[in-house]
Amino acid sequence: MRVAVIGAGVIGLSTALCIHEQFHGLVPSLELEVYADRRTPHTTSDGAAGLWQPYPSDHGNLQETLWNKETFDHLLRHLGSPAAKEMGLFLISGYNLFTQPVPDPSWKNIVLGFRNLTPKELELFPGYSHGWFNTALMLECRSYLPWLTERLRQRGVKFFHKKVESFQEVSGAGVDVVINCTGVRAGELQPDPELQPGRGQVIKVLAPWVKHFIITHDVESGIYNSPYVIPGSEFTVLGGIYQHGNWSEENSAQDHKTIWENCCRLLPALREAKIVEEWSGLRPARPRVRLERESVRRGHCQAEVIHNYGHGGFGITIHWGCAMAAARLFGSILRERQAAGPPRPRL
C-alpha cells in the first residue's frame, strides 16, 4: 500500500511519523512517501518561535482543545528523554498580558502552574492591567523538523523534493492514500475559500538575558497583532503582526518598525539586542482545522485523501493531536479496504 504525504512542515512530518509508527507493523507492504517543494529550514513551521500556546479563546471548539492537550501531554512525556535536546524541546515560563479582565483560557489546566499575575508583577508591564503566568513548552522546528525527518528516514520513508500539482498526479501513479498537509497553499490542490494566509513577520535578536515569553493581547487589534517576545535556545523572537489575506512573504519595513518599537516599549533592554534575522511567513488560517477524509475521483483514478491543514498560528501547539486523528482516519480507510478489497495479509 502506497501512502503519499504532501507537505513537510510540522504537520506533514508528524502525521507521516504517526501513521508509520502505528501501521507499519500491521501493514508490512506499507510504503510511505513525503512530497514537498519546501523543506526545513524553509517551511512556515521553521519561522515560528515554537511556543506551545493556543489562542486565548477556543470559541467553543472542544475538539481543537483536546488535540492541543494531546500534543502538550505527548511533548511533556518526552521532556525527560535524551531526545529532548535534539528535538528542540524545553520548558519555558512566561506572561500573557491584557488591558482588561478576560476569562481563563481553555488550556489553563493543560499548561503547568497557571495563575493570574500579582500587582507587583503587573508593575513590570505598564499599560496592562491583567495577565497570566504559566509554564509551557517550546518546540523549535529548526531542530524538531530535522529530528522528525531523521526518524522517518530511519524507518525507510522516502522523501521527494518536488511540488505536487494535483492529487491525481500521485493517485494516478499508484498511490492509494494521499495525506494533504499542504498548509497555506492547500488551495492550489483544491480551492478552499475558508483558507486564508495570516501573514506574520518576526525579528530574531540576540537577547540571552530574556528568560520568559511575553505575549500581549489587544482585543481590538486581534490575535498576534500585539507585541510578543519569545526567547528560544539561540535567538529571541520579536513579533506581533497578523495580516489576514496578505500573501506577501517579503519583509515589510513598516512591520519591522511596528514590531521593534512595540517590543522595545515592552522590554526596554531590547534596544541593546543585536538583530540577527528578519522573516515573514503565512499562517494557514481557517475558521477551523480541516481534518477529514475525502474520496477524490477523476476518471479511473480514485484516491482517498486525508486533509490535515489550516492550523493557523497554532500548528505546533496542535500538531500531534491532529497527527493522531489523521492516523485514526487512515486506520478506518485500512479497515474498509480489508472488508471490501481482495484478500490481504491479516491486519
Binding site: L79, G80, S81, P82, A84, K85, E86, G88, F90, L91, I92, S93, L112, G113, R115, L117, T118, K120, E121, E123, L124, F133, T135, M138, A207, P208, W209, V210, K211, H212, P231, S233, E234, P268, A269, R271, E272, A273
Partner: protein
C-alpha cells in the same frame, strides 16, 4: 572636614555596592576602592548571583528581610530598565524542591519574590523523587557584567579604583579619614576575625541555553541557575575548606546531581569549573569600630561575612554601611570642632 576621604577595601560585590551607596548618601566624600582582586577574579564572580536569601542565625529576621526587600526592589527597577542587559540583571522563574516536606513551608522572603506559591501536582511530576516544592520568580545578577557595571558607575561618580593589597587597615590611616572593610573572606587575615570561616563552593558553568528555569534543592546543595551566557550548576558546601582548586571528582558529582534533576543537561558542554570561598559568619559583620593606636584613631566600618547570601542582601547592607560611614563623618566633624575649642 572638607571632603572626607573614604577608602573601601575590597572590589567584590560588597565593596563596589558599598562604595556606590557612599557616593549616593555622601556626595561630598572622596571615595577610593582598593583591592588586590577585581572581576572576574573575585568570590562574587563564582556565584550565580541568584536572589534567594540565606538565613543568618544571629541576625534578626526582620533585618534580613529589610535587606532583601531593599536589594530586590533596587534590582527589580534596573531589570525593568534599558540598562538591564549591561548590568547583567534579569528575572528568572523556577522551582525550589524538597524530597521531604519542610517544616517551614513559607520562608521569610516568600512575599518579596514574585508569584510565590506551592508547586502543583503536575509541576512536581517533573521531579519524581521530590514530594514538595515552591514556584516563584526572582532576580539574578550575572557576574562579571554586574560588577563591571558597578565599576563603570563608580568611575562616572569620580571614584578612584586602585589595585593594591592592603595587609593592615592601619596602612591607610595617613591617606584616608575612614576605612570601610569589605574584604569578604580576606577579613580573616586582614582583621584577624576568627568567627569568619570559608564554606567552599565548587560550581560548573555550562552551555545549555535551552534551560530557562532555575531548579534548586531545598538544602541548597544542588542547583541549576540559568544566566545570560551560561548556566551555573552547583554545588558544594564544605565548611573550613580553604582550597581554591577545582576537584575533578566533585565536578562529576555536581554534574550527575544536576542531570538527575534536569536530564537534558547531559548534552551540555562544561565551559568552566570555578571555586569560591563563601565568607561565612553567624551574622554579617556590619558595624562601626574605632581602631586606636598610640593616641591615633582610625574609624572603620565593617561590612563583610555575607556567606551564601551576599547577592540577596548586598544593597541593603551597603546602604546600612553607608549610613554608618555618615555616622563616622559626623563623629569626626564633632571631634574636630571640639578640638578647635
Amino acid at each position: 572636614m572638607a571632603a572626607p576621604k573614604v577608602a573601601v577595601v575590597g572590589a567584590g560585590l560588597i565593596g563596589l555596592s558599598t562604595a556606590l551607596c557612599i557616593t549616593e548618601t555622601c556626595p561630598s566624600c572622596s571615595v577610593t576602592v582598593l583591592s588586590d582582586q577585581f572581576s572576574p577574579n573575585t568570590t562574587s564572580d563564582v556565584a550565580a548571583g541568584i536572589l534567594i536569601p540565606h538565613t543568618y542565625p544571629d541576625t534578626p529576621i526582620h533585618v534580613q528581610k529589610q535587606w532583601f526587600k531593599e536589594t530586590f526592589s533596587h534590582l527589580f527597577a534596573i531589570s525593568n530598565s534599558a540598562e538591564a542587559s549591561e548590568a547583567g540583571i534579569h528575572l528568572v522563574s523556577g522551582w525550589q524542591i524538597f524530597k521531604n516536606t519542610p517544616k517551614q513551608q513559607l520562608p521569610f522572603w516568600s512575599d518579596v519574590v514574585l508569584g510565590f506559591r506551592p508547586m502543583s501536582e503536575a509541576e512536581l511530576q517533573k521531579f519524581p523523587q521530590h514530594r514538595f516544592g515552591q514556584a516563584f520568580t526572582t532576580l539574578k545578577c550575572d557576574c562579571p557584567p554586574y560588577l563591571l557595571w558597578l565599576e563603570k558607575r563608580l568611575k562616572a561618580s569620580g571614584v578612584q579604583i586602585y589595585a593594591r593589597k592592603v595587609a593592615d587597615l592601619w596602612e591607610l590611616h595617613g591617606e584616608y579619614n575612614i576605612v570601610v572593610n569589605c574584604a569578604g573572606i580576606g577579613a580573616h587575615q586582614l582583621v584577624g576575625d576568627k568567627k569568619l570561616f570559608p564554606i567552599r563552593g565548587q560550581v560548573l558553568k555550562v552551555q545549555a541555553p535551552w534551560v530557562k528555569n532555575f531548579i534548586r534543592e531545598g538544602d541548597g546543595l544542588t542547583y541549576i541557575y540559568p544566566g545570560i551566557d551560561s548556566v551555573t550548576l552547583g554545588g558544594t558546601r564544605e565548611k573550613d575548606n580553604w582550597s581554591l582548586s577545582p576537584d575533578p571528582g566533585t565536578t562529576q558529582d555536581i554534574f550527575d546531581r544536576c542531570c538527575s534533576l534536569e536530564p537534558s543537561l547531559r548534552g551540555a558542554q562544561v565551559v568552566k569549573v570555578k571555586v569560591g570561598l563563601r565568607p561565612s559568619r553567624q551574622c554579617v559583620r556590619l558595624q562601626r569600630e574605632v581602631l586606636s593606636q598610640g593616641g591615633v584613631k582610625l574609624p572603620v566600618v565593617h561590612n563583610y561575612g555575607h556567606g551564601s547570601g551576599g547577592f540577596s542582601v548586598h544593597r541593603g547592607t551597603a546602604k546600612d554601611a553607608a549610613h554608618l560611614v555618615g555616622e563616622c563623618i559626623a563623629a569626626l566633624q564633632g571631634s574636630s570642632s571640639r578640638a578647635k575649642l
